[in-house]
């Protein structure tokens, strides 16, 4: 019967949500939502959840906003990233482990507006950060200089 099918679908949906939440706890958090306004969501796999301050962010998450929304997150390297209204951005990869010298940040914005303030990856390994837009790729550059250290006898 129709009603039973609908109830079954809702129950399945709820179970799927629980499963996603469980998996999320086991995977590594790459950041946390700090600001939200209006229609703002985080899509993880097939699930889209309303964004709320304190919500953990994982690699692969898509941040999305409606016509009145905005959303800001802080990533584990203490950089911050935000999107304005009508936006869509995927956190394609993120690694921050200075003790293992692992650094990586790739975000792709497909529509709308974003802002990014770099953190430790921007300081320690700026070449590992990349932003992709529909038309261009953006990389971070520090100001480079070289030091030649002579042997004591050459002084």
């Amino acid at each position: 019967m129709m009603r039973n099918t609908v109830t079954a679908a809702v129950l399945l949906g709820a179970l799927c949500l629980l499963a996603v939440a469980g998996t999320a706890a086991a995977e590594e958090t790459i950041g946390v939502v700090r600001t939200t306004s209006g229609d703002a969501t985080v899509t993880r796999g097939k699930k889209t959840l309303p964004a709320a301050p304190g919500m953990k962010i994982l690699v692969g998450d898509t941040l999305g906003t409606g016509a009145d929304g905005s959303l800001g997150v802080i990533l584990r390297d203490d950089s911050s990233l935000s999107i304005g209204p009508g936006s869509r951005l995927v956190l394609r990869s993120f690694q921050f482990s200075p003790s293992e010298e692992k650094f990586d940040l790739v975000a792709r914005i497909t529509r709308g507006t974003m802002a990014y303030l770099s953190g430790m990856i921007g300081k320690l390994a700026p070449e590992k950060a990349r932003f992709e837009t529909p038309t261009a790729t953006i990389g971070i550059r520090g100001t480079r200089f070289a030091v030649k250290v002579g042997e004591p006898s050459s002084r």
């Binding site: 600001t35 921007g122 261009a136 030649k148």
Partner: protein
């Protein structure tokens, strides 16, 4: 001879506006606008915008390029703050502030804060209140005088002392993360068994 290459640490604040116009058919020729801004300290980093095999470097505050689909980046121009806000005002407003860091110092072999550090604690409390909701990490440290285990315990006591002052002033316990690094993470590198007041500290980070 050794050559070392350094990257001067500098933050980058960048804005992107993707698919800026063209609502309907024919298929929109999208163009994106990329703006480089100074950070809160007024420092501007540098970014490189690449498209169609061409790289364009931006390193001045307010410097902006427009990129048309399939074309190299346009020539950079500096745009005024009003235009920046028109392009990406809401995204900028939603950008979380970087974490606030504080260092509090202690007297030798003690959990007593120096008088100056007591004053800094007031700033910490104001910051916690202004930025709520927050996560606060409180990490205790010692200098290298004494044994590892002793210093681990001392630095933990220092962290807990600071935490209890914060709690006493109304900070929610669930936002505090208290840890200690003993003598393993000096701010000022020294040899072992070297007294160094700058290492006898608690670092507080408010996110």
């Amino acid at each position: 001879m050794t050559r070392r290459s350094f990257v001067l640490p500098v933050a980058v604040l960048l804005l992107v506006a993707a698919c800026a116009t063209q609502p309907k058919p024919p298929p929109p020729a999208s163009h994106d606008i990329i703006v480089l801004l100074p950070d809160d300290q007024g420092k501007t980093g540098a970014i490189v915008v690449s498209s169609a095999g061409v790289e364009r470097r931006l390193d001045r505050p307010g410097e902006t390029v427009t990129v048309e689909s399939g074309s190299p980046p346009g020539l950079p121009t500096v745009i005024p703050g009003q235009e920046v806000r028109a392009i990406a005002g809401p995204a900028l407003a939603a950008l979380p502030k970087p974490p606030a860091r504080f260092i509090l110092y202690f007297k030798h072999d003690s959990v007593d804060l120096t008088p100056e550090s007591r004053a800094i604690l007031q700033n910490v409390l104001v910051t916690i209140r202004d930025r709520a909701p927050v996560d606060v990490s409180v990490v205790g440290h010692t200098d290298t005088v004494g044994k590892k285990e002793y210093n681990y315990a001392l630095s933990l006591k220092r962290a807990k002392t600071v935490a209890s002052i914060l709690l006493g002033k109304g900070t929610d316990p669930s936002v505090l993360d208290i840890t200690s690094h003993g003598k393993d993470n000096p701010l000022v590198p020294t040899g072992d068994q070297v007294p160094e007041p700058r290492n006898r500290r608690v670092e507080i980070t408010v996110r």
